[in-house]
């Protein structure tokens, strides 16, 4: 019997209501492991190239890993993946909380959805039993009403629910999936894919124990790990103030995106930083399954204009940036209110803020006027304008309906030169880290399959020392502002290390390389859970394999080296602040991207070579243009 995982993948055909269980075997699990990697395998196998992401032909994956649910801090995350309606490419988003572990305890490692239900439905999994149930009474409800409705209907307060709000039902391409209103599979529009399948929610409950190969060693690692959080910067900060602690540091470094990515310094930072947050709206701290860090924040405020309810989650760093500095809004209760609306309605707060910033800059340049908005002025700094745009998007009214397509499509629909202010990479809006101040992060944005930042090292953390990167062979301090071959090498190595967390479903904030885990102890933990004699070499290969599979998915969908780019603004000198004058030279950047291809074993077209695919046990992908089978379930590799 396997340790750490169930050995069971649930395949659900929503069109005909059937389901079956696949048991792929140890070699498959050790190759694909879980999370983003397992999901990439499923998408490549089961999605035909060129399909409409919002059609029944898309495939939606919920994936835990072989170690999800182990009683270690951070081992709680799961991936939701599908072809993205926002980018048309590989779509992936991770969330922590309790849903992933509960799915494992209910008997499955992953769920793969095919087809589309004829009416609103939800999936109910309890201790290995599977039911597709009617969700007519939940359709149109927000995420809180959905959670409460399901608890009542199923008669169990302890169920865990991943659901979509009205934004997902209305197919907004940056709608998210959430659990417990504190944990979000935010990016890439996975909520819209659920909506297109008439799938309102997945509810799980399981009482099965996770069998581990060496529970005593896991217990010992847990004790060591949790002690380290108390003294290891930056975990001390995460426990005390969550991710809000980043606001001030990034601002002082000149890389807190402000005014739609124009500036890197926000004058109103003191009103939205950790101190302001904890002195005004902070209510309590939350956490994920088995985690000692407790970085989640809940907020509360009795206020007529911006009432805040601790049940509906508090803003993280990204929300404070995207709904705050990016819009030059320093009204913290209003930012938190906008975040709550996103949580309840099921919108990704990152894309939402970027879309509002785009609209405000179009308004600033008279590309959008009050004629387009029905009289509403959309000026930077105006919190009520932000809340108005969000409401119009959710309700699919007027300019809100146009904007709700994301900045790329909205700019095309508006015309009049709006694309000049539509900042996206591969069609995805950006998290708030200015690439001009950390060029490795800029490479990460350009080369990530989803244009996201979580598989990327932050150069600024390694300017003084690289202690945590020494096991990767990164031996010299990193120069945050340089864009050269050394930076490409550093990024390539770092990406494998950061990326493994999404494959194994481990939180960056508890894991390698910069938080309170070491590579040695992580390998020991995976070995103690699974019983596999694994190594740093093997887990980095899992990460690289995952990235290469996602790359092939994107290549198959027509992405090319021209899409491996950053936004125009980062090639222009920073107009003000600590990094005044700083820009990324386009030629140097292009050379670094090409160097990354060479380092990775990719050809000049950005395609992994046959040799690289053989190296990674991906022979079955040598014919890169294989359009996928489109079959519901196929045998494992």
């Amino acid at each position: 019997m396997p340790y750490g995982y169930n050995g069971k993948i649930l395949h659900v055909n929503l069109t005909d209501g059937s389901w079956e269980v696949e048991e792929p075997g140890e070699v498959w699990y050790r190759t694909y492991v879980g999370g983003s990697s397992l999901a990439a395998y499923c998408l490549l196998k089961h999605i035909k190239a060129g399909i409409d992401p919002l059609s029944a032909e898309n495939v939606l994956v919920f994936a835990c890993s072989v170690v999800t649910g182990a009683p270690l801090s951070g081992f709680s995350r799961y991936t939701v993946a599908a072809k993205s309606p926002l980018t048309g490419g590989f779509g992936e988003a991770e969330a922590g909380g309790y849903f992933g572990p509960e799915l494992k305890f209910a008997g499955f490692d992953a769920i793969v959805f095919y087809g589309s239900a004829s009416k609103p439905s939800y999936l109910w999994i309890h201790d290995g039993d599977v039911e597709i149930r009617d969700a007519a009474n939940l359709w149109g409800k927000d995420n809180w009403e959905t959670l409460e409705g399901l608890r009542e209907e199923l008669g169990d307060k302890r169920i865990r629910v991943a659901s979509i709000g009205p934004a997902g039902e209305r197919l907004i391409p940056f709608a998210c999936v959430q659990n417990d209103l504190e944990h979000f599979n935010g990016r890439a529009g996975m909520g819209a894919v659920m909506g297109s399948k008439n799938l309102k929610a997945v509810a799980v409950r399981g009482k099965q124990k996770l069998e581990m190969a060496d529970p005593d060693s896991v217990k010992e690692i847990r004790r060591w790990h949790n002690e380290r959080f108390k003294v290891h910067p930056p975990n001390v900060g995460l426990s005390k103030v969550g991710t809000s602690g980043l606001v001030k540091g990034l601002n002082q470094a000149g890389i807190l995106p402000t005014h739609n990515f124009k500036y890197g310094e926000f004058k109103g930072v003191d009103k939205i930083d950790a101190e302001a947050y904890h002195g005004t709206i902070y209510h309590s701290s939350g956490t994920c399954y088995s985690c000692a860090v407790k970085c989640k924040r809940r907020v509360a405020l009795e206020d007529d204009a911006y009432p805040l309810d601790p049940r509906f989650g508090g803003p993280e760093y990204e929300s404070l940036g995207c709904l705050g500095s990016l819009l030059e809004i320093d009204n913290l209760p209003a930012i938190a209110r906008a975040n709550q609306v996103c949580n309840l309605m099921g919108l990704d707060a990152i894309s939402t803020g970027c879309v509002v910033a785009f609209a405000m800059e179009c308004f600033e340049h008279d590309i959008l006027t009050t004629e387009d908005t029905g009289g509403k002025a959309l000026e930077f700094g105006d919190a009520d304008a932000m809340l108005w745009v969000i409401e119009e998007m959710v309700n699919q009214r007027g300019i809100g309906k146009v904007l709700s397509q994301g900045v790329k499509k909205a700019a095309a629909a508006i015309g009049r030169g709006a694309d000049k202010y539509a900042f996206h990479i591969k069609g995805s809006e950006l998290p708030v880290h200015d690439g001009r101040g950390k060029t490795g992060m800029a490479l990460g944005y350009a080369l990530s399959p989803t244009a996201d930042h979580v598989e990327t090292p932050h150069d600024t953390a390694f300017a003084a020392n690289v202690t945590n990167l020494l096991p990767l062979g990164i031996l010299e301090p990193v120069q945050p502002l340089d864009t050269d071959a050394a930076k490409a090498r550093y990024f390539s190595l770092g990406q494998k290390a950061w990326g493994l967390n999404n494959c194994y479903g481990i939180c960056n904030f508890c894991s390698v390389p910069i938080h309170a885990m070491t590579f040695t102890r992580l390998v020991e933990a995976i070995k103690a859970i699974t019983g596999w004699e694994t190594s740093l070499f093997e887990i980095l290969r899992v990460s690289e394999r995952s990235n290469v599979m996602a790359r092939i998915f994107n290549n198959r969908e027509g992405f090319s080296p021209a899409d491996d780019r950053v936004i125009r603004r980062w090639h222009e000198p920073m107009p003000d602040g600590p990094l005044k004058g700083q820009r990324i030279d386009p030629k140097e950047f292009q050379a670094a991207v090409e160097m990354y291809y060479e380092i990775s074993g990719w050809d000049k077209d950005g395609k992994p070579t046959p040799g690289k695919l053989i190296d990674l046990n991906l022979e079955w992908l040598i014919d890169n243009d294989d359009p996928g089978t489109g079959e519901t379930v196929s045998s494992s590799a």
Partner: protein, 74 residues
């Protein structure tokens, strides 16, 4: 008995950057952070002699301590 350590502060901590500080023998990096009036949550990276260190690491005479606020992650 006291020892001397050299402190390098970065970004918004940088008031009085590059200073020599006297601490009691046996003091830890966390004690030094407190002495400097820096809140523990303001520490993103702490290194001693170019090696990353935890707040409970004891200091030695002549150590060079760098403190950078949180500027990565999220």
């Amino acid at each position: 008995m006291t020892i001397q350590v050299q402190v390098k502060l970065f970004l918004h901590l940088r008031k009085n950057r590059n200073q020599t500080v006297e601490v009691t023998d046996g003091a830890t990096a966390g004690d030094l952070v407190g002495l400097l009036g820096i809140r523990p949550e303001e520490v993103g990276v702490l290194s001693i002699n170019d090696r990353q260190a935890a707040l409970d690491q004891p200091l030695k005479d002549g150590d060079v301590v760098s403190i950078i606020p949180p500027i990565g992650g999220g």
